[in-house]
């Protein structure tokens, strides 16, 4: 059972994601973006960073990488696909997830801790979390303002596709970037493709200030073990 962590030119959270997965007992390979075949991998991660320098738009040029066709094929076949931060941006740009991620309303890159509420705990990515559990996770992005037109937004809500929402809690947290409906993470209709702006891989050890991201990796491990 192995997970592919895709490395685009300019990805920079690939090793961190690998580290978090390996710590959770999940085997990984770093897979260069020109790789045309992901046969044999049981899940795919698109890590954070600045693919192609985030030139033009964050994640915009990554959709042209050869590996993306293969990522789409796995997604269509129901394999778990996770895009974190720049990975989320790439997934929307490539059309694997609806909507888009625009420049933060504060117009600058923002690195800080946010609070997000787990809106669904019935996914392969969230099963170990409590219903509506509030997580402390770091964000680090300049283009994280989720946008989608009204119909899409309605469909997302009706289809319970919003997985993570920024929340304010005891004067802390709040919406850091102007995302519509405080959206921090969504899944596709089928529920196997997840995109999220916060960085779970940066919250898996006490020494890093939070362990709230660990649940995502553990949930995935369980899901994959059941499949296997």
């Amino acid at each position: 059972m192995k997970i592919a962590v895709i490395v685009f030119p300019g990805s920079n959270c690939d090793r961190d994601t690998q580290w978090a997965l390996e710590r959770s007992g999940l085997g990984t390979d770093l897979v260069w973006h020109t790789q045309g075949n992901l046969e044999g991998y049981s899940a795919v991660f698109l890590p954070g960073g600045f693919s192609y320098g985030d030139y033009l738009r964050a994640g915009a040029l990554a959709k042209f990488s050869p590996v993306m066709a293969e990522v789409k094929r796995l997604a269509d076949r129901g394999y778990p696909v996770v895009g974190i931060c720049n990975g989320f941006q790439a997934l929307t740009e490539a059309g694997l997830l609806p909507g888009a991620l625009l420049a933060n309303t504060n117009l600058h890159y923002t690195c800080k801790e946010v609070l997000v509420r787990v809106e669904r705990d019935d996914l392969p990515f969230t099963s170990v979390y409590q219903p509506k559990q509030i997580l402390r996770l770091p964000i680090a992005h300049g283009e994280g303002r989720y946008y989608a037109d009204e119909e899409t937004l309605e469909r997302l809500e009706e289809g319970r596709q919003v997985v993570l929402r920024y929340v304010e809690h005891q004067g802390q947290g709040g919406n850091p970037n102007g995302s519509l409906a405080d959206i921090a993470g969504i899944v596709n209709e089928r529920g196997n493709v997840l995109g999220m702006m916060p960085h779970p891989e940066r919250a898996v050890e006490d020494v890093l200030g939070s362990v709230d991201g660990q649940g995502l990796f553990e949930s995935l491990k369980r899901a994959l073990e059941i499949v296997a």
Partner: protein, 743 residues
């Protein structure tokens, strides 16, 4: 006596005017070459003999600095210094200035400064794991404030742009405002890299080897920048202004991964970055350090623009370029590796026996210079004299200062001053965590902590300088800079191993400028010896003066410390109620050169606080011991703004208040806001209080149990008065000022 010397040919005189090379240096060049140089050759000298590359005014002084220490694997002289941190690992680090480029174009100036220091670290075979920066700006208020705001936004944006994109966390730094930086903002960037001790690389090449050029193509970027960086920013620079160098963190990231992979796969024997003065300095220095010569073929240099002439190619400062000497038989692998990353990697030169730097273009030799002639620029020791204005400011009698009737408003006033207010608006624009090693993020402690994966260890890093101390007393100011940087590392639990210093001063050709440079370095040397912390790398930036302002000497000292056990660390904020607050040292501080004087009276005068280096060393050892023995997890040094500000800063992170009592009868403003080194606040619980105080007694240090943590207020009981501030009120005035500059 000039006229008695051999006359200079008229053709040469034109070139001297053009290059700005002084006649006596030209004569030296002719002597060393045994003939008159051609224009290209003369420019090679102009660049290599510029202050930035040759340190001709500082090298004799830098010899004063202690460079040996048990942990030192590589001292000054290579691209960066390297210290051993155990378990087979070492860290490489260095600070570099990018002041002038940042004044011309703040975003790109700062961005390329970050990119440049990163490549210095890569060149040692280290993977960069942390960035720091030290910034100095002029006035925020009034008309001049507009430019300052523009510069702050641009510089912070440029650092974020490059560091965030290339994926190296920016974990610590400092920002300081002072009118004397109005015309010369300072932007120094420091980078720390991690390597296996057996992968340490140097800038070396052996006979007959091809020399490879890798990375970005060469364009007409920053032509003459290195020379530019060594001239005062004056009106006529406008004309000389080079094509602004633009950084490309995307290409930089690919170049970094390619370089580190080449080293880790042992494909290269020598590595060198192309920094200031590009091909000229990187290649000639590599040849010189190897005691050999080098023949460069310009026709092979990848070019971005058409029709570039040899001079432009040699002076170009295009970013994201490296130089490699492959191991025999590994050439093809090296080329393939960079092809994989979509980067040029081609042989451009050959190492030769003859100790000359020979440049060919179109099949012809266009320049040939002895390598040592280029590398060993003449050095200068100049006459020095302290500026009388500074003397009179320092000798001002402050004992007569009125004591404010109401002290309560002063704390919020200090906390909202540009130099003491919250830095969050700055560092929240930096990625502080990529790499998932940052165990103590900016704002949570006096220094940043980075754990070393695969070991139980960590390093602590911080850069510091107090311009006000240095302005009023350059020598003492430099000593304070090292003491404070080391103290900041110690209060989080790190044992200082070595430091890098970014020396920013004025014009060394003036007696005042040279005095400040010389005093700064000898002060550093003395503190270095007394604290047992050697220098392993650094940078010198001179001529930081404009028509109306000369910067205060600004020795930015970047200290790297070791935590043998990651778990034994401390942070700055009060965490829970009911802990005892202990002060190592005494409550009474000094008013001279204090932020209090400046903020309340716009007065910059008096002597900086006295510094007893012996006590400083003991104090730092004591806090490290307290942390190591699990007697405390919360510690913070008392710096600018004095005791009251330090206490307030400890209440902010977790909004936990405190009540303390000061019994001294001295003037209350000196007790609350006076400044003095060798003072550290820490908390300890009831059960461990005795053990903690015993440790302090045994080490012969004065200490005071000031009070306890708890509540939502900061309360200070003085002999005659009681002061009370709401933590949240203080916090909001503290957070506001920079947020308004960086929305």
């Amino acid at each position: 006596m000039e006229e008695t010397l051999t006359p200079i040919s008229t053709s040469a005189e034109a070139m001297l005017k053009e290059t700005g090379i002084p006649p006596q240096e030209y004569r030296e060049i002719v002597r060393r070459m045994g003939r008159e140089p051609n224009r290209l050759e003369l420019y090679l000298f102009k660049v290599m003999w510029s202050e930035h590359c040759s340190y001709k005014n500082s090298r004799p002084l830098l010899r004063m600095l202690p460079k040996e220490g048990p942990a030192v694997l590589q001292g000054p002289g290579e691209n960066a210094g390297v210290v051993d941190i155990g378990e087979g690992y070492a860290v490489a680090f260095k600070i570099e200035s990018h002041n002038h480029p940042s004044a011309v174009e703040p975003v790109q100036g700062a961005a390329t400064g970050v990119g440049g220091i990163i490549r210095d670290i890569m060149a040692m075979g280290a993977r960069p794991i942390a960035l720091l920066n030290s910034l100095r700006f002029g006035k925020l208020e009034g008309h001049e404030g507009q430019r300052t705001r523009y510069l702050v936004g641009g510089v912070v944006g440029g650092i974020a742009h490059y560091g965030n994109a290339i994926g190296i966390p920016t974990v610590a730094g400092e920002v300081y405002f002072h009118p004397d930086y109005q015309e010369n903002p300072l932007v120094n960037a420091m980078c720390v890299g991690l390597l296996r001790t057996d992968e340490l690389k140097k800038s070396r090449a052996s006979l007959g080897r091809p020399v490879y050029y890798a990375g970005a193509k060469t364009g007409r970027d920053g032509i003459g920048g290195a020379a530019f960086a060594s001239e005062e920013l004056s009106e006529n620079n406008e004309a000389k202004r080079p094509n602004v160098q633009v950084g490309d963190p995307f290409l930089g990231k690919l170049l970094m991964e390619g370089t580190l992979e080449a080293i880790q796969r042992d494909l290269v024997e020598g590595v060198q970055d192309m920094g200031a003065a590009g091909l000229t300095s990187s290649l000639s220095e590599m040849a010189h350090k190897s005691g050999l010569g080098l023949e460069l073929n310009l026709d092979q240099v990848p070019q971005r623009e058409t029709g570039m002439n040899p001079l432009e190619l040699m002076l170009s400062e295009s970013q994201e370029r490296m130089v490699f000497v492959p191991r025999p038989g590994k050439e093809k692998e090296l080329e393939a590796l960079f092809a994989h990353y979509g980067l040029d990697c081609v042989p451009v030169a050959q190492v030769i026996q003859e100790p000359v730097f020979r440049i060919k273009a179109g099949g012809e030799v266009v320049a040939e210079v002895p390598t040592d002639a280029l590398a060993d620029a003449p050095t200068y020791t100049r006459e020095m004299q302290e500026s009388p204005e500074v003397q009179s400011l320092r000798s001002k009698d402050l004992s007569a200062l009125p004591i404010p009737a109401d002290l309560a408003p002063i704390l919020p006033q200090l906390l909202s001053s540009p130099n003491l207010c919250s830095r969050t608006p700055v560092f929240e624009r930096y990625d502080q965590q990529v790499g998932t090693n940052t165990a103590l993020v900016p704002g949570k402690g006096d220094a940043a902590i980075l754990r070393i994966k695969g070991t139980g260890r960590a390093i602590a890093v911080k850069v510091d300088a107090n311009p006000r101390y240095s302005k009023l007393h350059p020598r003492l100011g430099a000593m304070h800079a090292l003491a404070e940087a080391a103290r900041n590392v110690s209060v989080v639990g790190g044992r200082p191993l070595a430091y890098t210093d970014g020396l920013n001063c004025g014009n060394p050709e003036t007696p005042h400028g040279y005095y400040e440079l010389s005093e700064t370095i000898s002060g550093l040397a003395e503190a270095s010896r007394a604290l047992g912390i050697p220098v392993v790398s650094g940078n010198v930036s001179l001529y930081n003066e404009g028509p109306s302002y000369r910067i205060p000497p600004t020795p930015m000292v970047g200290v790297v410390g070791l935590l043998e056990n990651l778990e034994k660390r401390a942070e700055q904020g009060f965490k829970k109620a009911g802990e005892f607050i202990v002060l190592i040292g005494e409550p009474l501080g000094e008013l001279g050169a204090s932020e209090y004087l400046w903020v309340t009276q716009k007065l910059e005068a008096g002597n900086p606080p006295r510094l007893d280096l012996g006590r400083e060393a003991k104090t730092q050892a004591a806090i490290r011991e307290l942390i190591y023995l699990d007697l405390t997890r919360t510690a913070h040094d008392v710096a600018e703004g004095g005791l009251a500000v330090a206490l307030a800063e400890m209440t902010f992170p977790y909004s936990v208040g405190a009540t303390v009592e000061i019994r001294e009868q001295d003037r209350p403003d000196a007790l609350l806001f006076g400044e003095a080194p060798s003072r550290i606040l820490f908390t300890v619980n009831q059960a461990k209080l005795h053990e903690a105080t015993r440790l302090l007694e045994l080490s012969g240090l004065k200490y005071r149990i000031l009070g306890q943590t708890g509540g939502s207020e900061l309360t200070v009981l003085l002999p005659r008065t009681q002061l009370k501030w709401g933590v949240n009120e203080l916090k909001s005035v503290w957070e506001a000022p920079l947020r308004e500059v960086l929305p």
